[in-house]
Symmetry: C2
Subunit: 454 residues, 2 copies
Amino acid sequence: MIEVIPFINANKEKYIDELKDFLKIPSISTLPEYKDAINSAADFVAKKLKAAGISRINIFKTEGHPIVYGEWLGAPGKPTVLIYGHYDVQPVDPIELWNHPPFDPFIKDNKIYARGATDDKGQLYMHIKSVEAYFKTRGSLPLNVKFLIEGEEEIGSENLEKFINDNTELLKCDSVLISDTELYEAGLPTLTYGLRGLAYMEVELTGPSQDLHSGSFGGAVANPINVLAEMITKLHDKNGKITVPHFYNNVKRLTKKEKNNYKRLKFSDKRLARELGVKELYGEKGFTTLERLWARPTLDCNGIFGGFTGKGAKTIIPSMATAKISMRLVPDQDPKKIIKEFTKYVKKLAPKSVSIIVRELHSAFPVLTPLGDKAAVAASVAMEKAFGKKTVYVRDGGSVPIVTVFTKKLKAPTVLMGMGLNSENLHSPNEHFDLNHFHLGIISSAYFMEEYSL
Amino acid sequence: MIEVIPFINANKEKYIDELKDFLKIPSISTLPEYKDAINSAADFVAKKLKAAGISRINIFKTEGHPIVYGEWLGAPGKPTVLIYGHYDVQPVDPIELWNHPPFDPFIKDNKIYARGATDDKGQLYMHIKSVEAYFKTRGSLPLNVKFLIEGEEEIGSENLEKFINDNTELLKCDSVLISDTELYEAGLPTLTYGLRGLAYMEVELTGPSQDLHSGSFGGAVANPINVLAEMITKLHDKNGKITVPHFYNNVKRLTKKEKNNYKRLKFSDKRLARELGVKELYGEKGFTTLERLWARPTLDCNGIFGGFTGKGAKTIIPSMATAKISMRLVPDQDPKKIIKEFTKYVKKLAPKSVSIIVRELHSAFPVLTPLGDKAAVAASVAMEKAFGKKTVYVRDGGSVPIVTVFTKKLKAPTVLMGMGLNSENLHSPNEHFDLNHFHLGIISSAYFMEEYSL
C-alpha cells in the first residue's frame, strides 16, 4: 500500500475540488424540473469512473432516472465487491435557512457545505477516488469491483429494484459496500452491521354510519376513538413488550459480544433525553437504550385522527377513527409474517361494535451482516488502519430497503462503511460533510480493497 | 275552557298562514348579512305579542341580536310563567339538498317545510296564539305571563345570559315554559324533565420537542399517541364505568317510577342500532339504553389528532397528540367539580415521559325538573287533555345551557313541553314541523295556563 496511500494524501485538495464540481449539479430526484441536472450527475459519475480506470461503463436508462454501472473484473480468483451509492439529492427547501446557496459548495472549518455533501455524493465519490489511486499507482485493483450508482434513492429506488431483479447475473458479487451511513462520533471508525426492518400499517375503525350528537347518543354506542385507544393500548404490555402473537418468535438475541460492544460506546441516556427534549427516555424493560434502538423491535403510532380536530368544542361521537401504526423489525423477523399476525390480532381486538379495515402501507426486511463476515472484517481493519483507532460496531434503527434487495437477490452481505455524521443535516438546510472524514473515507476504501482481497 | 279551545280550532288555518309569514324571514343568527332579517323577526314577534293582547312589550338591544320581552301581569295571586323561545334559525347549507327553498314555507302531508319550522319559530308561536285565544275569548289570562324571546340561541345565547343576570327582578317567575324539544313519538304527549350537563375538555400531550424519525428513535422515547391512547383507555373500567375519582358521587339514582316510565316507552335497541348503522349498541353495564342516554353520565372522545395524518406512510414519532374529551353529566353532578377532578386525574395518569396541558373548553349544568312540580304536573295534564293520551316522561341526553341559567338565576323550574320530532331535520335541509303537533301545541299551551293557574 506504500504507493496508494501517499498518492491519496498527495491528491487531497484535488479530490475536494472534484467533489465541488459534483456538488454543483442540482440533481434533485423528486422535482421534474431538475431532470437535466439528474442526467448531468449520471454523466459526471460515468466520466469520473472512466477517468479512474474503470473499463466497462454503462448508463442504463430506466423509466425514471438513469443507473450508472461500471465494472473492472481484472482480478480473477479474487472476490468481487459491488459498491453502491446514489447521485441524487433531497430538495433544498426551506431554502431561506441555508447560510450559503445549496449548490455552490463552500468550505468552512474543514467542512464542505452543499446539498448532497454527505448524502451521498461525498461518500460515493470516496470509492471512485480510491479506485483511481490504485490504477494510477499500481495499474490495477487488488480485487474485482462493480459500481452501481443510482439516481432515485431519495424517492424510493423503485427502478433500481427492478434493475437488480432483471440483472442478478451482471451484478453478481461477494459483498456489497455502501458508504451512506454515519460514524458513531467524529473520528471514530464505525461499522454499521444491522438495520431494522419495517411493517407500516393503517387501522381504520368505523362505528356509527355518521357522526352523532354526543348528547343524544352518548352512552348508546361504542365510540371509535375510545375503541381505537383501547386497541392501541393492548398492543403493548406493561413492560413495553409488544403483544402481537408470535411477534418475538424470530427475534435474534443479542450476543454477549454485541452487548459488550454497545457498552463500550460513550452513550448517555441523559444526553439523548436532553437532545430530544424529553424528561426521560422510555422503552421496553430489560434492555439498554442502544439495545432498544438497534436490536429490539418497536411499535409506534405514527399518526392518529378521528372526529373533530378543529379549534374549540364540537359535541360529536365520531363515525371513524384511524391510526397509522408501524413496527420496526429486527433480524430475523419477516415483515410479511408480522403483517399477517398484526392484522389478525388487531381484527381480533376490535369489538363487534365497530368495523375494522387494516391496510399494509409499506414494509422492509431487517438486515444483519455477521460480524465475522470476511467483508465486514476487512472494512473494520481498513477503517482501523485509516483512522488509527479501533472500529466500533453499531446498528442503525432505521431501514434501508435497497439493502434487503441486495441481500435477497444477490445473496451478498452488505457492509455499511459510512463516513457521515448524524449532525451533518442530511435532508435539512446546511447539509455538510467533514472533509477529514472524506479523506479518511478514501483511505479506508483503499485499505478495504486490499484487506478484502487477501 | 269552552270558549278558548273552539276559538283555537276555528282559527287553525289562520295560525298556519301567520306562521308562514314568520318562517319567510331568514333570521339566521350566525351570518352577519342577515342582520336585517334578525331585526325583522324580532319586530314580528313583538307585533304578534301586541296583537295577541300582551300589554307591555320591549325590544331590548344587546351587543348581539335583540331580545323581545313582553309581559301581562293582570292576574294577581296567580302564578307567573315565563315563556322562552328563540326567533333565530340555523344556516341553510347545504342549500342544494332542500327540496323547496328554505324561506318559502311549503306544506306537504300536513307538514310545513322551512328553516325554523320546528326549531323554534313554530314552537314558540304556539304560545303567542294560545295567549291570543284567551284575550279574544275571555279578555284576560288565567295567570301572569312573561315572554322572553331571543335571537341568539343557535349561537350560544351569550347576550341572553347577560340579560338574565342583569334583569332577575324583571324576569322573576314561578316556572319557565319552553317548547323547543321533541315528542317521544308522533301524537304522544311528552314531558322532558331532564337534560344532561357537559364538561368538554382538551388534553394535549407533548413528548419530544419535535417529530422524530421512528427508525432512529423508535424504542428510546415514549410516543405521545401511544401514551394518550393508554390514558384514554384508563378513563373507563371494563364495565364501561368512568374511572375519574368521585365522578359518580353526586349522580342521582333513577327512581323506581322513572325506571317504570322508561320501560313503558316502546324503545328498541335493535331499531336504534339499525338507525345508527352499528352492529350492536354499547355502554355502561347494568343499565338499559334509555337509562344510559338520559340518566347516566358518559365520557366520549369527540376528536383526536397527532402525528402524520395524511395519505400514505411517514415514519415519525410525533411530538404531540391531542384529544377532545367530553363528559355528559347528570343531576346532581357539578361540571366545575367534575372538571377539577378530571384535570387532576389525567395529569396523574400522564407519565413523566410526556408533558400535559388540560384545557376546559365548555361546560353546562345538568337539569332535572321534579316530576311532582306544579308546573310539570300542569303541563302533563294539559298535554293529556290536548292529545287525548297519557303523557310520557322522558329526559334528553343533550344539554340546553340556557335552562341552567333559568334554574340558577331565576330559581324557577323549567318545563320542557316540546312538540317537535327528532325526525324533523332540525339543523339539516328540509326542516319541517308537523302541523297537527303545531295545533295540539297551541291547545296544550292553553290548557297549561288554566291548569297551572288552579
